[in-house]
């Protein structure tokens, strides 16, 4: 619903023009940014540590490579993480478990990160997620008229059942040939189940595909805290400067000590389909 402001802004934009402007703002103090994920899928566990930069900084934000990272659970297990064990150039700042593990539904996970002798902590509970029953696809006529990406105008349809007796929060990720896609770089695909009935019969993806593409849809369970975090993040990414929407503010998160980012525990279920003409 917060998207209503986007529509509003678009309506207003019918009469307006815009151009880049240089903000003469003082840079705030640098803050530690933590992005952590524990799931019930092997190989999906990681923690990324970086730091915030100036608004006009170019290039990748500075990654922190010398943090101490450990994840624990409420069963007393402890999983130490190590920085970029594969020494991959694109994985600087990423920490992976020394011994691979998978998260379990119902467990609560605790993250501890130490950067420059400062301790940052977070916890999140791993909830169950409903399964994607099946996928289908069809041509989207509007997109076909004016495709955002060349020839990509097939949308994938998702079929699932929403359990009505639990309060659930979801996030979706869409992959085109193993590459994570968003339609617009300020969009996050997440939802609560407040207004959703049991039968989800062919809800369409916001990402479009071409024949030959492999489409992958992942559904994640979110805790209430994670839902709040993504909801805030979406408002922040789409803020209109506080004209119709609330003045922008940082996302509420589950990290202590003023760190930005989020530590998320999720169940993941995925389905793939190949698009054919």
């Amino acid at each position: 619903m917060k998207n209503i402001f986007l529509i509003l802004l678009v309506t207003i934009l019918l009469y307006s023009c815009e151009e880049p402007v240089h903000l003469d703002v003082s840079q705030g103090e640098t803050r530690v940014v933590i992005e952590g994920q524990v799931t019930n899928v092997a190989g999906y566990q990681y923690v990324k540590v970086s730091q915030s930069g100036g608004f006009y900084d170019t290039g990748k934000p500075t990654r922190i490579t010398d943090a101490d990272v450990v994840i624990k659970d409420d069963a007393g297990n402890e999983y130490p993480f190590v920085h970029n064990p594969g020494k991959l150039a694109d994985s600087v700042g990423y920490y992976l478990p020394v011994t691979p593990f998978t998260g379990e539904v119902g467990r609560t996970y605790f993250l501890q990160v130490i950067v420059n002798e400062q301790l940052y902590e977070a916890k999140d509970k791993l909830y169950a997620v409903t399964n994607i029953d099946s996928l289908a696809y069809r041509i989207d006529d509007d997109e076909k008229e004016d495709p955002k990406d060349y020839q990509k105008f097939y949308e994938v349809l998702i079929y699932a059942k929403e359990p009505q007796d639990t309060k659930d929060y979801y996030m979706f990720k869409f992959f085109r040939n193993d590459s994570l896609k968003v339609y617009n770089d300020t969009e996050i695909y997440f939802s609560d189940d407040e207004t959703i009935g049991e039968d989800i019969d062919g809800i369409s993806t916001p990402i479009y595909f071409a024949p030959g593409d492999m489409a992958r849809c992942e559904i994640y369970s979110l805790s209430r805290e994670a839902f709040v975090f993504y909801s805030d993040l979406q408002s922040l990414l789409n803020s209109d400067g506080g004209l119709f929407s609330q003045p922008p503010s940082n996302s509420r998160n589950n990290l202590t000590n003023g760190a930005l980012g989020f530590f998320q525990a999720s169940s993941v279920h995925a389905k793939e389909i190949e698009i054919k003409e």
Partner: protein
């Protein structure tokens, strides 16, 4: 208690009254051409240095010792009239005044000064002169009173293209906007490009910014009272206009000559028709309909029935659409109990609703929300003598808030029907106020309003482990309240006072105090309210908002009232101002109460204004220096911050020049300091997103806003002898094409096609400018 108090006051005044044998002169003052009752006409008896002013229904009453007097009737823009009257008994005397325009060939000697602004007890009030407003430039040529209200000293706008206004440091929802006494909950068309007020039917509009009379209540910062025309009761008239955005037509005339009349008017925008012609699927339009009838059974009873309906409809590709609108109805009965006791009883209904709809086999839904209100008001004026005018009354209002209902609109939709619970409120108000002329120099107005507000069932109130925790919302209990069961009652006394001291002829000083209480709260967290915002009553979690305002002013007229000068200073203190937690979820939230944050607000400022009301060149220059702050626990880390609508300097110049019978020119210049804005002080990376880091709310300012608008009105000469009278209005909005900042947003650096350029990490800030230079032509007609 209140009843006894009233009786006591009556006895008190009755004794004052009977001490001398007195008679009462009363009646209505009307416009001779169309029979419209005139509001605010000064009735003055020089020998007694006593006077009265016609009320909202054109009625006046003045009680004097027996004798023969000269009675003067004067009103700005009208020919002065003087009558010699022998008053040996009570007299009903209706007066018809001629406009100066209709007597242009005669020599008009206005020897009586029109110095209402100086003499009147009321301060901090602005009346819009519609004739003047019409001479000034208007956006797309559509005359809009709200855009003119935004030009008044002490009034601030959020930016061009919005209908919202901010009075003396109050937020947009702290203004009570009344259309023929019925509240308008959202006055915008096209998100504020235009307002719901069609200038063709407006008779009078007044903005009270301070010293608010006791008969008004319910909002903290201002009352905008708009009254529509009653309709010409002498002859049939048709008027209209064809503009670049909208066209309008108005018909008025007598039903029974001099006894009853009607007026009906309609306006519709037609951008959608052009878009349709251009084969565009995105359709947008709005319309307004005003209708009114009135009839007079005799000099003692008069009835009015007024109706308004307006709506905006947006449709995008036949798939997504939304709409909103107001409907109001007012039925009024003016009754004269006797020469001195005037009563008005009104039955008022108001409805605001909005709708959002997505047509889709799987994701389709319909979302409805509305607010309904019914009220009965009884207002009495007792003109005791020339020194005392007592007004008192009782208002009762019932409101039903339906914040939202979502229903699936197709068989296969994954939505289920969900409805937020309704809320109900009952609002009683008793008030009394006395305007007391202590001496020639000193007048006093003291009033008291008692407001009793009840949030009633049927409703469920949720109790929370921590009512302020909007992340982990844990309900501990639910209290069920049956229909009409009292959930919470708030009783507040609202004292009002004003004092006017005549320093010398044409010079006065005034001071006023008012306390206002607001029990309906707009659920809007941005600067400019949108039609999709809902309202909540005070209740279990929301406390009434309270404002205390003190204002002082100096008023002076120069050169036989050709120039009016005023200087006012005010301080306003607000308790329990309603705000929302950072990142509040205010749409369709069952636990909305966890987002409420109430705190303090304070505002102060100085307003200067010079008005030139006569001559070929007329206009005004206004300047406001002001500050508006807020401190809300739970917002901005509990630190105080500038309110979204805080603007340090605002200056407005309006001028109209009547060159000759054919040409009139108008110009408007506006300047204001930039709006506060929250800007990023950094950015970070999370997954593939590059969000901003925010440090302080409203810590920066947009660049200053300034704009010049010009207009020229051409009335062809041949009009004089024809029934058909036409008029061309040419206007240029933003004449020097200033790029005025509307807002700033940030994004990953992209090219004009919206494709990311650079490394995908670099961000840019973009300023949105609303209107470039915009010429427009409007043709108005009358026959």
């Amino acid at each position: 208690m209140i009843k006894n108090f009233l009786v006591l006051i009556f006895i008190l005044y009755a004794t004052v009254l009977w001490s001398q044998e007195k008679v009462t002169l009363n009646g209505y003052v009307k416009d001779v051409d169309n029979g419209e009752e005139l509001i605010g006409v000064t009735v003055y008896i020089p020998e007694l240095k006593a006077g009265a002013v016609t009320n909202a229904y054109g009625f006046y009453s003045i009680t004097v010792p027996k004798g023969t007097y000269e009675v003067q009737y004067s009103y700005l823009g009208y020919k002065f009239q003087s009558v010699k009257m022998e008053m040996s008994q009570n007299i009903a005397h209706n007066v018809e005044l001629k406009t100066e325009a209709t007597v242009i060939e005669e020599v008009v000697v206005t020897d009586k000064r029109i110095d209402e602004n100086v003499v009147s007890l009321q301060m901090s009030k602005n009346t819009l002169d519609l004739n003047q407003v019409r001479k000034l430039p208007a956006l797309f040529g559509e005359v809009d009173i709200l855009k003119n209200i935004q030009m008044l000293p002490g009034v601030i706008t959020a930016g061009e293209g919005t209908s919202s206004f901010y009075v003396r440091g109050g937020s947009a929802d702290q203004n009570l906007i009344l259309n023929d006494e019925a509240p308008i909950y959202d006055p915008s068309h096209l998100f504020g490009l235009f307002s719901v007020f069609n200038a063709d039917v407006i008779k009078d509009s007044e903005l009270y910014k301070g010293g608010i009379p006791a008969r008004f209540g319910g909002r903290l910062s201002s009352i905008l009272e708009v009254r529509t025309k009653d309709g010409n009761n002498k002859k049939l008239n048709v008027a209209g206009g064809i503009g670049s955005m909208a066209s309008r037509v108005m018909v008025e005339g007598p039903i029974i000559k001099e006894k009853s009349s009607f007026i009906i008017s309609a306006r519709r925008s037609y951008i959608d028709l052009f878009l349709k012609a251009a084969d565009q699927d995105n359709l947008v339009h709005f319309y307004d309909i005003n209708a009114k009838v009135n009839w007079k059974t005799n000099n003692k009873n008069r009835f009015f029935a007024a109706f308004y309906a307006g709506r905006d409809v947006f449709n995008f590709s036949d798939e997504f659409g939304f709409a909103w609108g107001n409907r109001t109805g007012t039925f009024r009965w003016n009754h004269l109990f006797n020469e001195r006791l005037f009563s008005n009883t009104s039955l008022i209904v108001s409805n605001f609703d909005y709708k959002l709809e997505l047509e889709d086999p799987v994701q389709g839904f319909k979302w409805l929300s509305n607010l309904q209100e019914v009220s009965i008001k009884n207002d009495l004026s007792y003109f005791i003598n020339t020194n005392h005018e007592l007004t008192f009354g009782y208002h009762i209002t019932g409101r039903r808030f339906s914040p939202g209902r979502i229903t699936p609109n197709s068989e296969g939709s994954f939505f289920k029907e969900v409805e937020l619970q309704h809320m109900y409120a009952l609002d009683h108000a008793f008030y009394i106020s006395d305007q007391y002329n202590i001496s020639d120099k000193l007048s006093l107005d003291v009033g008291l309003r008692l407001s009793i507000f009840q949030n009633v069932g049927k409703s469920d109130v949720y109790l929370y482990e921590d009512p302020k925790d909007n992340i982990n919302i844990t309900r501990t209990d639910t209290i069920h309240y049956g229909a009409w069961r009292n959930i919470k009652t708030y009783i507040n006394l609202e004292p009002r006072a004003g004092l006017r001291y005549m320093i010398a002829e044409g010079q006065s000083a005034k001071i006023s105090y008012n306390r206002m209480v607001q029990n309906t709260h707009l659920i809007a967290a941005g600067t400019v309210p949108v039609p999709f915002n809902t309202w909540n009553p005070s209740g279990y979690y929301l406390e009434p908002q309270l404002a205390d305002q003190v204002a002082v002013g100096y008023f002076r007229n120069f050169e036989n009232n050709k120039y009016e000068f005023s200087a006012e200073a005010y301080y306003k203190d607000i308790k329990n101002v309603t705000d929302f937690a950072d990142n509040a979820d205010i749409f369709f939230n069952e636990d909305l109460s966890t987002e409420f944050r109430q705190g303090k607000a304070w505002a102060y400022g100085i307003e200067l204004m010079v008005n030139k009301t006569q001559g070929k060149l007329t206009g005004s220059v206004g300047y406001t220096l002001s500050k508006a702050m807020r401190k809300i626990p739970g917002v901005n880390l509990d630190k105080s911050f500038a309110a979204n609508y805080d603007r340090r300097h605002v200056a407005n110049i309006q001028a109209a020049y009547d060159m000759n019978d054919r040409w009139t020119f108008g110009a408007t210049f506006t300047f204001s300091s930039g709006r506060p804005i929250t800007l990023p002080t950094g950015k970070f990376e999370y997954q593939n997103y590059q969000p901003d880091v925010i440090s302080e709310r409203n810590g920066y300012r947009l660049p200053a806003f300034h704009r010049l608008d010009l207009s020229a009105t051409y009335t062809p000469k041949k009009n004089a002898n024809r029934r058909w009278k036409g008029q061309w209005v040419f206007s240029v909005y933003n004449a020097y094409n200033r790029k005025n900042p509307f807002t700033i947003y940030t994004r990953i650096t992209k090219n004009d096609d919206g494709d990311t350029i650079g490394d995908g990490y670099t961000k840019e800030a973009r300023m949105i400018y609303l209107f470039p230079i915009l010429p427009s032509v409007t043709y108005n007609f009358k026959f």
